[in-house]
């Protein structure tokens, strides 16, 4: 899919972004010590508390964690679409090809959005505007970013729909979101993210609302497109099965902290953090039929009043006195991994 179809004199994105010096040798996305706070009437919640990770071209980074651990907030912080009261980025940097997005002015950042980094949301029905056709919503991207005419934009929209596997694209382009099935709607969301061939795609729980067979189709589509376009993909989910299939590297989040980072094989084979270990143990397995299901006891902490020290220690079976004092830093673990646990060696052994 090339931009050759579109010939326009005014290409707003090109203009704005040509003034930014992207370093093509730098990693695609580098998040360092990101902190996001929410100011609520119960106090300040540290939704993202010092998270760092790196994404390279062609790579899939998985962010794994329960609801409320801060993964979606991280995604939206990268996109720059957090509701700024009550949310506030309190520190850290988000570097896209070496350029810190957080220090960019909003006008330029707007052009980065969709053009270089795009996002796919979980609930496609509520994430699409119900009163405009799918073709209009897809075409809008071209009309506003590349100065395309309505006809050109519509042609591109049809192309996009075909790319993501929507049958009868020429007719469906005039349909409204509620006229599609759940799986097709998610494909439309994917199409929307791909429109300008971004370098990074963030998929925030893309398949959680779909049933298993549709899930598989959508994930396969995403994987194929990523390969053919050499994009970086950040996949956010709490589904460990999907993660195992698709991710290259993982970042496990808990209560706003990154608690473990490893390659997918390393993590699944031998976790180095008690939380990851707990997650893996709680997956029902066919070969353990007949045994009692294991669960991580307790509940995630209240973010306006987190426990002292390590956020996970109240639920951890490796916890000791030291864990109550200070939240552990990310230790380097052999093999290029990291773990935020004082006793990661023990966890590895067990």
């Amino acid at each position: 899919m090339t931009d050759a179809v579109i010939e326009s004199k005014k290409n707003p994105d090109k203009g704005a972004l040509s003034r930014v010096h992207f370093d093509q040798t730098a990693p695609l996305l580098e998040v360092e010590d990101l902190k996001v706070e929410f100011h609520t009437r119960y106090g300040i919640a540290e939704a993202v508390n010092g998270v760092s990770f790196t994404l390279q071209e062609g790579e899939t980074l998985g962010i794994l964690g329960e609801s409320g651990c801060g993964k979606s907030v991280t995604a939206q912080a990268i996109m720059g679409i957090l509701d700024t009261p009550p949310a506030q980025v309190a520190g850290g940097s988000i570097r896209f090809r070496g350029v810190d997005l957080l220090t960019m002015d909003e006008r330029t950042r707007r052009h980065v959005r969709q053009n270089k980094i795009a996002i796919i949301f979980q609930d496609a029905l509520s994430s699409l505007n119900p009163v405009f056709t799918v073709g209009w919503q897809l075409g809008e991207i071209y009309r506003k970013h590349t100065g395309a005419t309505r006809a050109q934009a519509k042609a591109k929209a049809i192309e996009l729909l075909e790319l993501v596997g929507i049958p009868s694209a020429k007719q469906r382009v005039n349909s409204f979101p509620h006229q599609f099935s759940g799986g097709q709607r998610q494909r439309v969301m994917i199409a929307m993210a791909l429109a300008l061939e971004p370098d990074v795609i963030i998929a925030d729980e893309p398949t959680t609302a779909l049933d298993v067979t549709v899930q598989a189709q959508v994930m396969r589509l995403l994987g194929d497109l990523q390969k053919s376009m050499q994009m970086g993909l950040i996949l956010i989910t709490h589904d460990m099965g999907v993660m195992a299939d698709v991710a290259d590297h993982l970042c496990v989040m808990y209560a706003g902290h990154a608690v473990e980072q490893a390659s997918v094989y390393q993590l699944y084979e031998r976790p180095a953090h008690p939380y990851t270990k707990g997650l893996l143990e709680s997956i029902p397995r066919v070969d353990l039929k007949g045994q009692e299901l294991v669960a991580i006891k307790g509940l995630p902490p209240v973010l306006t009043n987190p426990p002292p020290g390590c956020a996970f220690h109240p639920r951890c079976r490796f916890a000791r006195d030291r864990c109550k004092e200070e939240h552990p830093p990310l230790y380097d673990v052999p093999g290029g991994r990291r773990s935020a646990c004082y006793y990661w060696e023990e966890v590895l052994e067990s």
């Binding site: 119960y42 609801s67 409320g68 801060g70 979606s72 949301f121 509940l299 209240v302």
Partner: protein
């Protein structure tokens, strides 16, 4: 904020074993009303409105508490249209009656009409709305067309026509005319509310447990569809007070020798043009503040009972 930016905010007390749908629903129910009450009682406008409503209601029921004697007893034409003075802080009406006393005694008929009309409107509207919402098919169609037919008569227009032909205009007849034209709004909202509630899981669960329709309506549907009706009923109290005054002003409502705020305003208008402002301003002020109190209460109830605000 959507689910994906949700994170653990308040302590989640539900670490007990799963409850039956009945229990769950009752708990949700109770906490909605409890939450609502908590929000309401923290607002100063709430208490101000409640106090005013109480004042006005007591004026209606016990006028002698607020003023000495029937104002119509002491009317002297020489006093006519005199402005406020020390002894009579609100002055005199154009007939020479004490303005304060007239306003106080005027309260009862105005409030009585509003109350009666609201009771009839809500009662009848709820009945039709529940039946139409709960029983689909022919029942719903017939009742909905019936509602549409009454809805087709614009409120004031219909009221003016109906009151013209009513033999005697008293609290009952005026209230009935208002109710005849106003029940449709309550019916429509009730129907919508019932339709939404009917599809919720706990209703199906109750049915599965063998509950009869009557029981389902009484114990499950009604408590959960009541919130918008309560809001509308409160607002209607205010609206109907204003409506009675409007009809009286137009000449199709109460007539002398009754005393109502509408009459005071109607009589005061031509004299106010000539400079006796208090003849107009005082009854107007009472009317507006009373309507305002009810509407504020209704607004606050709506915000307090809105589950989405949680």
């Amino acid at each position: 904020m959507t689910e994906s930016t949700d994170f653990a905010m308040e302590p989640d007390p539900r670490t007990e074993p799963p409850e039956s749908p009945e229990q769950q629903k009752r708990e949700i129910n109770r906490s909605l009303w409890a939450d609502g009450w908590r929000e309401l009682r923290s607002k100063p406008q709430f208490w101000l409105s409640v106090v005013w409503v109480l004042i006005v209601s007591s004026m209606a029921v016990f006028p002698s508490l607020w003023t000495s004697g029937d104002p119509l007893d002491n009317c002297l034409l020489e006093q006519g249209s005199e402005g406020p003075s020390a002894a009579h802080p609100f002055g005199f009406t154009y007939q020479g009656c004490d303005m304060w006393g007239s306003v106080v005694y005027g309260t009862s008929k105005s409030l009585a009409v509003a109350l009666l009309a609201t009771v009839m409107t809500t009662g009848f509207g709820m009945l039709i709305g529940v039946l139409a919402g709960f029983y689909p098919g022919m029942v719903d169609t017939v009742l909905s067309r019936f509602t549409d037919i009454f809805f087709g008569l614009p409120f004031l227009l219909g009221a003016v026509v109906f009151l013209a032909i009513v033999p005697e205009r008293n609290v009952l007849t005026i209230a009935m005319v208002i109710a005849l034209l106003g029940w449709t709004t309550i019916a429509r909202i009730m129907r919508g509310s019932v339709l939404t509630t009917k599809n919720r899981d706990f209703v199906e669960a109750a049915r599965g447990l063998g509950a009869t329709n009557g029981r389902i309506i009484r114990r499950h549907i009604l408590p959960n569809s009541m919130a918008p009706i309560i809001v509308l009923t409160t607002i209607n109290l205010g609206v109907y007070v204003g409506l009675e005054a409007t009809l009286t002003f137009l000449g199709v409502g109460f007539q002398r020798p009754n005393t109502t705020w509408g009459l005071l305003i109607a009589e005061g208008q031509p004299y106010a043009m000539q400079g006796d402002a208090h003849l107009l301003l005082i009854p107007c002020a009472f009317l507006v503040v009373t309507v305002l109190a009810f509407i504020l209460l209704g607004d606050m109830l709506r915000d307090a009972l809105d589950p989405r605000g949680r």
